[in-house]
Amino acid sequence: MKLELFAEKLFAAGKESGFTDMEVFFSGGSSFRAGVFKGEIDNYTLAESSGLSFRGIYNGKMGYAFTEKLDEESIDMLINDAQQNAIINDSEDVEEIFAGSAEYAEVDAYSQELANATTEQKLALVHAIEKAAYALDDRIATVQAFFGGGASERRIINNKGLNLAFQGNTAMLGVSVIARQGQETKTAYGREVARDLAEFDVDKIAKEAVDEAVSLFGADTIVSKDYPIILRNDVAAQLLAVFAPAFSAENVQKGLSLLRGKIGEQIYDAKITIVDDPHMPGKPGSCPFDAEGVATYKKNVVEDGVLKTYLHNLKTARQDGVESTGNASKRSYKSSIGISPSNFYIQPGEVNYDEMIKGTKEGLIIISLQGTHSGANPVSGDFSLAAYGYLVQDGAIVGPVHQITVAGNYYQMMREVLQIGNDLYFGGGSYGAPSLKIARLAVAGK
């Protein structure tokens, strides 16, 4: 059944069952992924799929239900389930179905070049990057290369007159390598996203992965103590993502954020500015409207170290007596409304990464952190994570370091930022950061 017709029937059935305001959130698309192993395309995945989530107000309470089948039977299930889910909902927060913002920005997320690319062109890239990675160094034992991409569509239709649609597409080329030397095994990966296949620099992605893997041979652990730290840009972005939930007004209101009551206060070093920008061309977090249909906009969340705003949806904004910041989100089409940043990044500074190393008498460059889902506490900011990287002495890298943990507290760390790099990096995700030099973190090794 076509979406408009389905929504029409659903709203009519909902009205009969006692729903007042109703909305469907639809997400659909196609995806493609191919991987190569030893010269053969060994995995190849194609998909066309979609899902629809219904929410509606019944006796003043919001109820949700979802389906992946748009048939008559599903209409009954959606109405019935949403009703049940509204009845048990005893949240005091008021959730609303939104009639629409005055205007919506034009956001460029769909690339015609990418849509026109053929399967042959995509597969040629995967073969090329595999070949490039093997050719770069004899110690590369295994290469796995992949191309992934797809197009997606998001629709919001409600019975208050809103009808929004947004389309985007994306492509990623990546390679992961295993390097062997004697008894040692090292891994690394490289990847890039692009909006046109011609933008992919196959040799550069392969070289980054290979160079990193072979640079780790001979790694040793180091003496446990506090070290000055350089967080490489990708690692700084990874940590930003882990601790970003603290900016969600929902977490603030529920007592799950230490940023409660800190608007207007200095929370980070004065060099730090953090931007939420939903209008960046071709980024995964870009969209002119959020999951409630509210128009999105660019803002500084932290400016010169001062907390300027939390991220709000309609519900939390109402509770705080402010306007929604257009950050309502759904983890998937079936989720209820939450809050998340759009494209969220630490504004880059002036310092070149190499200069950062040159200016370090003794320190540690962290190029990988593992276990952030378990070894970091997004509420308290505490973290203790497995890491590896390079030891720096007298302004130069002296060798690779592994089997260590770095521990600290994110809030304290962000107050002790010494330098900010000029190398802002997103790595295909929606969180970005430049490299950061930090006064100290506790390192455990031997």
């Binding site: 053969e40 389906t67 949240s91 103590k225 209820s336 497995a386 089997q403």
Partner: protein, 464 residues
């Protein structure tokens, strides 16, 4: 779920370009997710996942396609598009599906749909209140409830046609303790392949109080010191160490392409003598159990390590081809959106001859990790890490002060050799494991074990 003649036509279409094996996976899953914060039911979500996945194998390679639209025209189109990714000619093939009946080992008494949502909310409220009232340090409680009823149909070009139904439920409690600006979270999340009768068999309030106890203990704990020293890891969810440090590296997913540290090592000594471990997908009603895996192969009990010797990997059909070995019934996937691959089911270290008390008494200085958090591993290098949720220092053979914020890191191949004591108190805990074929339910487990030396990361500075 789909008629046999249609399945046969789709399989035949999938093999049109020379594929040597085709498979259809149909999934119809109804699930309910409820979230309670501070005693209030914040979100209730329920609905239906439905889709069809078509997989074609040719030699060591595969093509996978999935869709939500199960009309004959669309399925044939999807099968054709998938087949077009391969180049070749159809072999002379007849597909004759024979329905196989399975014996259901995981009997369900109270199907989730037969229980009112109000009863589910009442259960959550009991958990909330038990945690909240445990200690004045508990400032916030979050309870989540999940149940799902997944029906699958698997048909393949070898003639297999089989259906299975998997019912699961889980109730998780996050208790948050506060003191000044500090916050600590205690977690417990019991689950099973059972219906709502599960909550008659356990007392959810006990679990809620335990989550609260962990949070309240940790908020008052000092920071953990760092260094290399003996670590005692308690039973039940402590088994996550085996899951991460060793289990993933025994999955054919990494072994087949020789990307695992344990590739080509069957029959070799990879662990100390006191270590024996199994993966058992047959345990009645266990969280990680299934009658059949997601390729339709019956699950089984596989001995992975016996007295330190590597006995078996966990294998799916495709990787089994590369390895020249048969499936061990370990092929799993989150949903029709994922091609299946070898994964763990219920994986645990078997009991040893010591008691927990003996192990603690035999440890002059070390860390006792009573509850573990999650972790991760790189199978290629075996390097793992995981978080400790609750821990105590051990001094002179006695449990001393609680410490928080510890992380354990190491290499699977080393840690297995460093397990020097195993207790007799085997228990299993529930978790979700994320990997190549999505997020799936797993039991981890072990008795209390001691690792003679492991790197402990903490914020307090070097241990004295």
């Amino acid at each position: 779920m789909l008629p046999k003649p249609l399945l046969e036509r789709v399989l035949l279409q999938a093999l049109a370009t020379g594929g040597d094996f085709a498979e259809i996976f149909v999934e119809d899953k109804y699930s309910t997710n409820l979230n309670m914060v501070g005693g209030k039911l914040e979100t209730g979500l329920s609905g239906r996942d439905y889709g069809v996945g078509i997989r074609i194998l040719k030699g060591f390679n595969y093509v996978y396609a999935y869709t939500n639209d199960d009309s004959e025209a669309n399925l044939l189109k999807v099968a054709k598009t998938a087949a077009d990714a391969l180049v070749g000619a159809q072999r002379d093939q007849v597909i004759d599906l024979t329905r196989q009946e399975i014996t259901n080992r995981h009997l369900i008494e109270r199907y989730p749909h037969a229980v009112s949502k109000q009863d589910k909310v009442a259960l959550m409220l009991r958990a909330n209140n038990a945690a909240l009232n445990y200690s004045s340090f508990i400032s916030q409680v979050r309870v989540s409830y999940l149940d799902e009823d997944q029906k699958v149909l698997i048909a393949n070009s070898d003639g297999l046609l089989v259906e299975d139904r998997r019912v699961r439920t889980r109730c998780s409690i996050n208790a948050i303790a506060s003191k000044g600006n500090e916050k600590q979270v205690g977690f417990y999340g019991p689950g099973a392949s059972k219906g709502f009768e599960f909550y008659d068999e356990i007392d959810i309030e006990d679990y809620a109080r335990e989550a609260a106890r962990i949070a309240a203990t940790m908020i008052n704990a000092d920071l953990c010191p760092s260094g290399r020293f003996p670590v005692i890891i308690d039973n039940e969810f402590g088994g996550v160490i085996f899951h991460e440090a060793c289990g993933h590296s025994l999955e054919a997913t990494s072994v087949a392409k020789k990307m695992s540290v344990f590739a080509d090592r069957l029959g070799e000594k990879i662990a100390s003598d006191v270590v024996s471990a199994v993966d058992d997908g047959t345990i009645p009603n266990a969280w990680g159990s299934q009658n059949i895996d997601d390729e339709g192969t019956p699950t089984r009990r596989n001995v992975l390590i016996e007295n330190g010797i590597l006995k078996s990997y966990m294998i799916d059909k495709l990787n089994g081809r590369r390895m020249g070995m048969a499936s061990t019934g370990n092929s799993r996937r989150q949903s029709y959106r994922f091609a299946p691959t070898s994964r763990m089911t219920n994986t645990f270290i078997l009991p040893g001859k010591h008691t927990r008390d003996e192990i603690i008494a035999a440890t002059e200085f070390g860390l006792l990790a009573t509850y573990m958090g999650g972790g991760s591993v790189r199978p290629a290098t075996g390097e793992f890490n995981f978080a400790v949720r609750e821990a105590y220092m051990v001094r002179n053979g006695r449990i001393a002060e609680p410490v928080r914020g510890a992380t354990l890191i190491g290499k699977g191949s080393e840690i297995l050799h460093n397990i020097d004591m195993v207790a007799d108190n085997l228990a299993r805990g529930q978790g979700m494991c994320g990997s190549a074929s999505g997020s799936i339910p797993n039991d981890v487990g072990q008795p209390t074990i001691r690792v003679s030396e492991i790197t402990v990361g903490g914020r307090k500075g070097a241990a004295k």
